[in-house]
């Protein structure tokens, strides 16, 4: 019977797959455009500069400086003062009810303090459940506080601000930044598209009846697998480049670490992700089964890889399952290189695990394929 590791026919399969890929223009365009497109859509959903945040205020002071502060807030594009609360409790309940995302609390002696040259406190309550809104509110309110301080005491020699903005985050105190999400999004989208494309390849041959004709040739099972993988590695790599360009130039997330290292590890990740697609393709009997298997794999990739939730907070068994997903390793690699400027010295365990996982998957797919083929 067929040996599982047989590289013959690799260039023949590569030749044919390349033609397949280039001839099916719609699929090719989708494969190249979808990742960047999805990243732009979801990236913006997370990261759009937020304006006109619904804001409530409670002005207990009623003095001239309080009016000035509220006018400054209203004048900025960031806050819309939509509700005047009648009590401090109402401010809180407005946020809880979701009527507003920000509440300004001006204490009774605010104007008096400022006029007397003392530091006056302005409390800003921020709904942290939506991190992008919360970040914008946080940054914007402190900017307005600084501007007010400068305006009210232009010749100030003391460094202490005269208007001290005290933000208080409700619900989600440790805000996860968009910088944190965009690199993750790149990894997730790349994994989904490559696994999908790959999973349909062998099962497609099975379904169209072209597989038997392939199997009467001396093409080896590993040669077949690799010949099918390489075109998708190239497509995936172009996707990766486009996504990185969008990340740097559209989302303004700079890459802190080495770009060549990031690109090289991206290829490792693609091989691992394609290994999953290949494995699905080798066990599925038809394309519908393959699609359902990929679907079954996608949700855990979103939930268990660390894309959405901290892996450290998961039950141990869930953490183990996460280790079977190439994205888990690649997320750490991506965030490590992009955000913290990490190098291979810090990331080698992930790199090793991811590469091993990919190699194992391809070998398993080859063996599985060699068995079912005969």
């Amino acid at each position: 019977m067929r040996p599982p590791l047989d590289f013959r026919g690799f260039t023949a399969v590569l030749y044919k797959e390349w033609i397949h890929v280039l001839r099916d223009r719609v699929t090719l365009i989708l494969a190249l455009a979808l990742p960047t497109l999805q990243m732009l859509i979801f990236g913006y959903a997370i990261n759009t500069r937020v304006e006109h945040i619904k804001t409530a205020y409670y002005n207990e002071d009623q003095g001239p400086i309080a009016i000035q502060a509220l006018n400054a807030l209203a004048a900025s594009q960031d806050f819309d003062l939509v509700r005047a609360a009648s009590s401090r409790q109402q401010l809180q309940s407005d946020i809880v009810a979701g009527k507003v995302h920000v509440a300004i609390d001006i204490p009774p002696n605010f104007s008096a303090d400022v006029l007397a040259g003392r530091t006056a406190q302005l409390q800003v309550l921020i709904d942290g459940s939506d991190s992008s809104i919360a970040q914008e509110a946080l940054a914007s309110s402190s900017l307005i506080g600084q501007a007010l301080s400068t305006e009210l005491r232009p010749q100030a020699t003391v460094s202490a601000a005269i208007v001290d903005v005290r933000p208080r985050m409700l619900f989600n105190p440790s805000l996860r930044s968009a910088n944190f999400l965009v690199p993750g999004l790149i990894g997730l989208i790349m994994q989904i598209i490559t696994v999908f494309l790959m999973s349909l390849s062998i099962v497609g041959e099975r379904e169209r009846g072209t597989l038997d004709q392939l199997l009467v040739t001396p093409i080896g099972s590993t040669g077949l697998m690799l010949g099918k993988i390489v075109p998708y590695v190239i497509i995936g790599f172009v996707d990766f480049l486009l996504a990185l360009l969008a990340m740097v130039y559209i989302f303004q997330v700079p890459i802190a670490g080495s770009v060549p290292l990031l690109l090289a590890l991206g290829v490792c990740f693609l091989v691992a992700a394609l290994g999953i697609g290949l494995f699905v393709s080798a066990i599925a009997q038809n394309q519908l089964q393959a699609i359902l298997m990929v679907f079954g794999f996608t949700l855990p990739s979103v939930l268990l890889s660390g894309f959405m939730f901290e892996r450290e907070l998961m039950p141990v068994i869930m953490q183990w399952i996460g280790l079977l997903i190439p994205l888990t390793y690649f997320l750490e690699i991506l965030r490590g290189i992009v955000l913290r400027g990490a190098g291979l010295d810090a990331l080698w365990p992930q790199v090793l695990a991811m590469t091993a996982l990919g190699t194992l998957l391809i070998i398993a797919a080859s063996i599985r394929f060699a068995r079912t083929a005969s």
């Binding site: 044919k16 397949h20 009846g209 004709q213 009467v216 040739t217 005969s374």
Partner: protein
């Protein structure tokens, strides 16, 4: 390459799926350079047998060899010596004719110069060259089969397995494909062809008939006609030429000495006791109001042979050849 060995040997080949025996204890040989017709109803195990020879299905027991190579142990040598044309079109529709050939040439490991030479050869042999730049999916059924044949011939296999190569193609294309097969046989290629067409089967050097996974008859047409059970002892077979076959069919069946009646186009084939003469049969049918143009004695056709064999088998009168 053991030139003395038959091109194809099946030795008690058996394939089971679960508790269903798809191919049951198949034994036959095909000499080199001959065309072996493999017949039998749908689902009788023809395709499975071919797939076992091509290494696509592993037999549960028994042995087989192709061109002297054991199908179980010498997969590589077997693959190098066989060409396979499967039942459904199994090339790449979105690749051109030339690209399909190029791919298979590479898959068989032919070096570029040899590949080009072989492409020219099969272009010439099959005539597919004029469609070289056309997408395979846009070819007609007959040309698709020629492309499949051309592809399977690229590496100059000694043995060809063709699974219903003429199913669903028009009569002219069918005739031309058979001319091609004869030319290959002349060149010394051994062919195993499955078909449902009796006229095709009659053109084969020898035929095997498989029914419910069992090979119930194998041999040349002459040998099959002489098999016991095809013609019961003491019977003769006549063709009745008639203007109106249906009334003649009913009338013939009603005759007391009638043993079997089958409609063949506008003729009626009947089997009667050897004591019934042509004249008596014609007279009896005319008496019953049939317009009879003539009656003549005939040999059983291959179809008659298989109808008889199948009936014997379903009646439980099993016999070995």
């Amino acid at each position: 390459m053991n030139d003395a060995a038959p091109a194809i040997v099946a030795d008690h080949l058996t394939k089971r799926y679960g508790d269903q025996t798809v191919v049951d204890d198949l034994t036959f040989t095909v000499p080199r350079g001959s065309i072996f017709g493999f017949l039998g109803p749908n689902g009788s195990g023809k395709s499975t047998t071919i797939k076992m020879f091509c290494g696509l299905v592993a037999p549960n027991s028994g042995q087989g060899s192709v061109d002297g190579h054991d199908i179980m142990r010498e997969g590589d040598a077997v693959r190098a010596s066989i060409g396979y044309v499967s039942q459904q079109f199994s090339l790449y529709s979105e690749l051109t004719v030339d690209e399909n050939l190029e791919f298979y040439g590479r898959a068989y490991g032919l070096v570029p110069a040899r590949r080009e030479q072989r492409k020219r050869d099969v272009f010439e042999l099959t005539g597919i060259g004029r469609f070289a730049g056309r997408l395979a999916g846009q070819l007609s059924g007959g040309w698709k089969q020629r492309l499949a044949l051309a592809t399977a011939l690229l590496h100059e296999p000694k043995v060809m397995f063709l699974d219903e190569p003429t199913a669903g193609i028009d009569p002219v294309a069918r005739r031309e494909l058979w001319d091609l097969l004869f030319r290959l046989a002349e060149q010394g290629v051994t062919l195993l062809v499955t078909t449902h067409y009796m006229d095709e089967a009659e053109r084969c050097s020898s035929v095997g008939y498989i029914y419910n996974g069992e090979l119930i008859a194998v041999g040349t047409l002459e040998e099959l006609r002489k098999l016991p059970g095809v013609e019961s002892p003491g019977t003769v077979r006549y063709a009745v030429h008639t203007e109106d076959v249906m009334p003649a069919f009913s009338a013939a069946r009603a005759l007391p000495y009638m043993k079997d009646t089958t409609i063949f186009g506008r003729d009626l084939h009947v089997v009667v006791g050897a004591d019934v003469t042509q004249e008596q049969l014609q007279r009896d049918l005319v008496q019953r109001g049939c317009a009879i143009a003539g009656v003549e004695r005939i040999e059983p056709s291959l179809e008659d042979v298989f109808v008889a064999l199948t009936r014997n088998r379903s009646d439980g009168n099993g016999w070995e050849t």
